[in-house]
């Protein structure tokens, strides 16, 4: 039987021109990446487009993949991040502005009047109230379950700096989330 290959080996094959091998990586990553975009944009159609764009870029920039520079996962997430940044620039809303923070606060305040919402939805709303950078670091760390080392590579930062960012983002999120109850 054909052995199960690591992401890195498959990507090396893709880099060498065996483009159809990318299907295996697509199957491994499409759900995570789609949800990554969905958390950042709250828009299904956009998230589909961005996932598609991302894999298009993987093909286009396959030569830039260097296994010595880290895992495939950090490579593709770094690219995903750029796809999202470009999308936001296109929208001319600034990076990842989901909603006006004041609007979110108002919405949250409205909900505190007896109406019990599903906790996941409440969390989504609170998340939307964060600034885009904080939202991204939390999505990577908590929803996507990436390690601090990986996030540091993706965001071209240090592990210590990422830990501080996660800490601050969680603190902010906590304030927004528990304000709703």
């Amino acid at each position: 039987m054909v052995p199960e290959l690591s992401d890195e080996k498959i990507m090396l094959l893709v880099r060498e021109g065996h483009l159809s091998e990318l299907t295996a990586l697509f199957d491994r990553y499409q759900v995570s990446l789609y949800n990554f975009f969905l958390r950042l944009t709250s828009d299904r159609a956009v998230s589909q487009d961005l996932t598609q764009n991302l894999f298009y870029r993987v093909i286009r920039y396959r030569q830039s993949y260097e296994p010595a520079q880290g895992s495939f996962r950090s490579w593709i997430y770094r690219m995903a991040r750029n796809v999202h940044v470009d999308f936001c620039k296109q929208q001319q809303k600034g990076p990842g502005r989901l909603a006006d923070p004041e609007e979110v606060e108002q919405q949250l305040a409205d909900q505190s009047t007896g109406y019990t919402q599903d906790q996941y939805q409440r969390l989504d709303l609170a998340l939307a109230g964060l600034d885009p950078d904080q939202r991204e670091v939390l999505v990577l760390s908590r929803y996507q379950g990436l390690k601090y080392e990986e996030i540091a590579r993706i965001r071209e930062s240090s592990v210590a700096a990422i830990k501080v960012q996660v800490y601050r983002a969680l603190k902010q999120l906590r304030t927004l989330y528990f304000k709703q109850i």
């Binding site: 054909v2 090396l12 499409q30 759900v31 789609y34 589909q48 598609q52 969390l123 906590r174 989330y177």
Partner: protein, 273 residues
């Protein structure tokens, strides 16, 4: 540790990423500090909710559009390779194409041209990427071994496209061993599908600097009846100035069943050889 220091470590505490001594100290503090306990519980609820948040499945159309995109990229790659490798003076001139003849003839001419070009492309050695990184070269070695595994596991597959995939893996190998060459040669001579035989020939073309490979290719020439393969084989051996191919090429020329396109290629080849 005071409350501020404790709170700064609560995430790691909940992630169970602390050493046992620090974790024990925090646990002890939490027993007596209501403020920190509240913070810890809120944080815990938040982290658990995030961790357990349901993931949405992307709609099937995402996979479909990926497949379409991949297919069109593959097509573009093939076309790009052909254009890139084609020398300007040999570019086909439209007025030379036999527009009056049946469509299959035009198609055949295009395929024959493309075959010649692909051979040219295959013969060009790719630039070696120099890397001193041991880890990387170990990875490359593993990839090479994996390619061999794929090749041998798919070369007898039922589906022709899988067999083409198998033989095309050999193309990427820098120096395949004799076992790989034999497998390709066997496919070239015996596979029931013409496209698979052609793909196999392309892979072999890359290693035609080896005398043993050329020997087998010369022998294969008299076995082949498929016009495309005959032409590609003749062109390849001519390019390699393989004089031992003269006899089988003459045989092809005298054979009454030989197609005109093949005959032309054979005559051109004999002039050179």
């Amino acid at each position: 540790m005071n409350c501020k220091e404790i709170q700064a470590k609560l995430i790691d505490y909940l992630d169970q990423g602390l050493d046992p001594t620090t974790a024990a100290a925090i646990r002890q503090h939490l027993e007596t500090c209501a403020e920190c306990t509240r913070e810890m519980q809120e944080l815990k609820e938040l982290l658990t909710t995030m961790k357990d948040s349901p993931r949405e499945m992307p709609p099937p159309v995402l996979r479909e559009s990926f497949d379409t995109m991949l297919q069109s990229e593959l097509n573009m790659l093939t076309t790009a390779n052909i254009i890139q490798e084609f020398p300007a003076e040999e570019r086909p001139r439209k007025n030379l194409l036999p527009f009056s003849s049946p469509v299959w003839k035009v198609a055949a001419a295009v395929i024959l041209l493309a075959s010649g070009i692909s051979i040219g492309a295959a013969l060009r050695t790719r630039p070696e990427t120099s890397s001193t990184d041991d880890q990387l070269s170990a990875l490359r070695k593993e990839v090479k071994e994996m390619k061999e595994q794929v090749l041998f596991s798919l070369i007898d597959d039922e589906s022709a496209s899988q067999r083409i995939k198998a033989v095309s893996y050999a193309e990427g190998m820098a120096s395949p061993d004799q076992q790989v060459i034999d497998a390709l040669m066997n496919t070239l001579n015996n596979d029931k599908n013409g496209n698979v035989r052609l793909a196999s020939l392309y892979s072999l073309a890359r290693f035609s600097d080896r005398r043993s490979v050329r020997d087998s290719l010369v022998a294969s020439l008299s076995r082949q009846t498929e016009p495309i393969i005959q032409v590609v084989l003749i062109n390849l051996l001519t390019e390699k100035r393989e004089t031992r191919a003269i006899a089988p090429i003459k045989d092809i020329l005298t054979n009454k069943k030989t197609l005109k396109e093949v005959r032309d290629a054979a005559q051109r080849s004999l002039k050179v050889l």
